[in-house]
């Protein structure tokens, strides 16, 4: 994809290769972890996209005659595979609806965090010197406050809501990228191809964007997968605490908060949303593991 934008001299240094798509898919289908991760993540994405069309009930539709019904309950309104909650709403339909928030928060926050973090790390590592020292001290300070604590405090001040939450998670999650990208930049900066780029008279910004950035971006991609998992967990924690997304938006974290309130009588209200989070995060982690193996040239060389 990026190859089209790269300079001719960069492309000419590459050995002839199969297309990116073929390489990715063939590597993917050789790895059980890769297949499992793709299947889970794909499934959740599909749910998020077409959820309302396939869900058995309306996610916010009450049925007060069917409150707290256990899994497998059915009445004139239909079948409730995973039971109902305190307002007689179908747990399964709510889980399907909740996937939308997790996917949205996971993807958008990580895109924001990744963009900020990669830029920050790139500048810090490439410019070096005093700028680097100052920027990295700020990163150290931010990393010394546990992520969830930081996010909890900020959302307490700024207020809650889906959009705000995405922004908060995006604007706090970049720190890890900054660290990782900076150390990759420090390595890449000393490489021969960078020296060569200077030698043929390219300017510093050009070297940074065209030669250093493409060589550190794979670390960012691997990290992004990990961060999607972290972000989904963070969103559910915050919503659970009442500091994230608010009702009537359906999220897995809020479902767990409801479940906790009725934990003595209706275990299914707590059990199933947690399974949904765990499976989704597991899928993302698998995909991330596979991506790391795929993108890490050392491991690829051995294979």
């Amino acid at each position: 994809m990026e190859a089209g934008k790269a300079s001719p001299e960069y492309i000419s240094t590459l050995p002839p290769q199969r297309s990116l798509f073929t390489r990715v898919t063939s590597a993917l289908f050789r790895s059980p972890i890769g297949i499992a991760g793709t299947a889970i993540v794909g499934f959740v994405l599909v749910l998020a996209l077409i959820g309302p069309q396939i869900s058995p009930h309306e996610a916010v539709g009450h049925n007060l005659r069917a409150r707290f019904k256990p899994p497998g309950y059915s009445d004139s309104a239909g079948f409730y595979a995973l039971g109902t909650d305190q307002l007689g709403r179908d747990i399964l339909s709510r889980i399907i609806a909740g996937s939308r928030v997790s996917v949205l928060v996971g993807i958008v926050s990580v895109l924001i965090a990744g963009t900020i973090g990669v830029t920050y790390g790139l500048v810090s590592g490439f410019v070096g010197g005093l700028v680097d020292t100052v920027l990295m001290r700020i990163v150290d300070a931010l990393l010394s406050i546990p992520f969830i604590v930081l996010v909890v405090a900020i959302s307490g001040v700024v207020g809650a809501g889906l959009g705000t939450l995405i922004l908060i998670l995006g604007c706090t999650g970049w720190v890890t990228y900054a660290r990782v990208i900076r150390s990759e930049v420090l390595k890449a900066r000393e490489m021969e191809y960078v020296v060569a780029a200077y030698a043929i008279g390219q300017s510093r910004p050009l070297v940074m964007l065209r030669h250093v950035l493409p060589n550190v971006i794979s670390s960012a991609i691997v990290l992004a997968a990990v961060q999607v998992a972290v972000t989904i967990l963070a969103e559910s924690s915050l919503s659970f605490l009442g500091l994230g997304v608010k009702t009537p938006t359906v999220t897995w974290g809020l479902m767990l908060a409801d479940g906790k309130a009725y934990i003595n009588s209706a275990w299914w209200m707590t059990f199933y949303p947690g399974i949904a989070i765990t499976v989704t995060v597991l899928g993302v982690v698998f995909l991330g593991d596979w991506l790391r193996d795929f993108l890490d040239p050392n491991i690829r060389a051995r294979a």
Binding site: S144, I145, P146, F147, V152, I154, F240
Partner: protein
């Protein structure tokens, strides 16, 4: 050693200084902190009075100077919910949080280290496979959900453990296990890979070839070296543990700092939130400082500038 301690101490001061700036700026993220603190029924005059009482009418730089000068002496202002110094409110809860973190770490290490060693020694065995699967599961699972599941099993159905508070000694079992399991999941994979790396080293082969029993080689030669990366990552995972404690303490109504943070945010007790953030960050930095010093001692090869 001395140089290391001094340099790192200086870095620690700088980091805490930046943390103070972050904490100061944080409550001003939405502009005027009074807008968060004032009850909605206040009229303009009352808001002005409140603003003056808290010093928010002064220039921001001056406010920061005052904040910093007081913060250095541990004065974060008065908690307007408890009507006592915010620092006092926070320190009361610290003990509970540290106890929880210590027990959880102990549980985490007790599970992770032996499991990691065994998986490394019996690589690709059933045990290795199962522990990998469990570790992935434990990492993917939201810790507070695990806590809720424990409540359902042990409090609702078996009725053998209290589901909240810290009134009885056994009340710590569920919150610490919840966090400990998450910690174990994060550490066991790492112990395994560290152990595998060490087992391939020359000195391990030498130890074997001079006729030592495998048990001795593993415990005396390999483990000691494999623990170094484990110590480092343990320090980093402490951030996860402290963060996780915010949610887990809320699940179990454990009266620690994490729960205090959530409570204070809900009642908009800004000074306590600031003091709490400060302590979270200080605990994390100090423990990592101590761990750095510790692995300097266990591994003389490491010299951190």
């Amino acid at each position: 050693m001395r140089e290391f301690i001094v340099t790192r101490f200086f870095q620690l001061i700088v980091t805490m200084f930046i943390v103070s700036l972050l904490v100061f700026l944080m409550i001003r993220l939405r502009g005027d902190p009074i807008s968060i603190m004032a009850p909605p029924i206040f009229n303009e005059e009352q808001i002005q009075a409140l603003r003056a009482a808290w010093g928010f009418d002064k220039p921001v730089l001056e406010q920061y100077a005052i904040f910093l000068r007081k913060a250095v002496t541990g004065d974060f202002g008065t908690s307007f919910f408890a009507r006592r110094p915010a620092m006092e409110v926070v320190i009361e809860r610290l003990g509970y949080s540290w106890l929880l973190a210590a027990v959880a770490s102990l549980i985490g290490l007790t599970i992770a280290v032996p499991l990691g060693i065994l998986s490394a020694l019996k690589r690709n065995s059933l045990l290795d496979f199962v522990s990998t699967a469990l570790a992935s599961l434990g990492t993917a699972m939201p810790s507070f959900w695990l806590g809720l599941m424990l409540i359902i099993i042990f409090s609702v159905y078996l009725r053998i453990l209290p589901s909240f508070g810290a009134l009885e000694p056994q009340a710590i079992i569920m919150p610490s296990s919840t966090l400990g399991v998450g910690m174990a999941a994060r550490l066991s994979r790492l112990t395994r890979s560290a152990m595998l790396e060490v087992l391939n080293q020359d000195y391990v082969r030498t130890a074997h070839s001079k006729g030592l029993q495998s048990r001795q080689v593993v415990l005396r030669h390999a483990l000691r070296n494999a623990l170094i990366p484990v110590v480092t990552v343990f320090g980093l995972q402490l951030g996860w543990l402290l963060g996780g404690s915010v949610v887990v303490e809320s699940v179990f109504a454990w009266p620690g700092l994490g729960r205090l943070m959530v409570e204070s945010i809900n009642v908009r007790d800004t000074t306590v939130v600031q003091a709490g953030l400060f302590w979270f960050s200080l605990s994390f930095i100090l423990i990592n400082y101590a761990l750095d010093a510790f692995y300097m001692i266990i591994d003389p090869r490491i010299r951190i500038g």
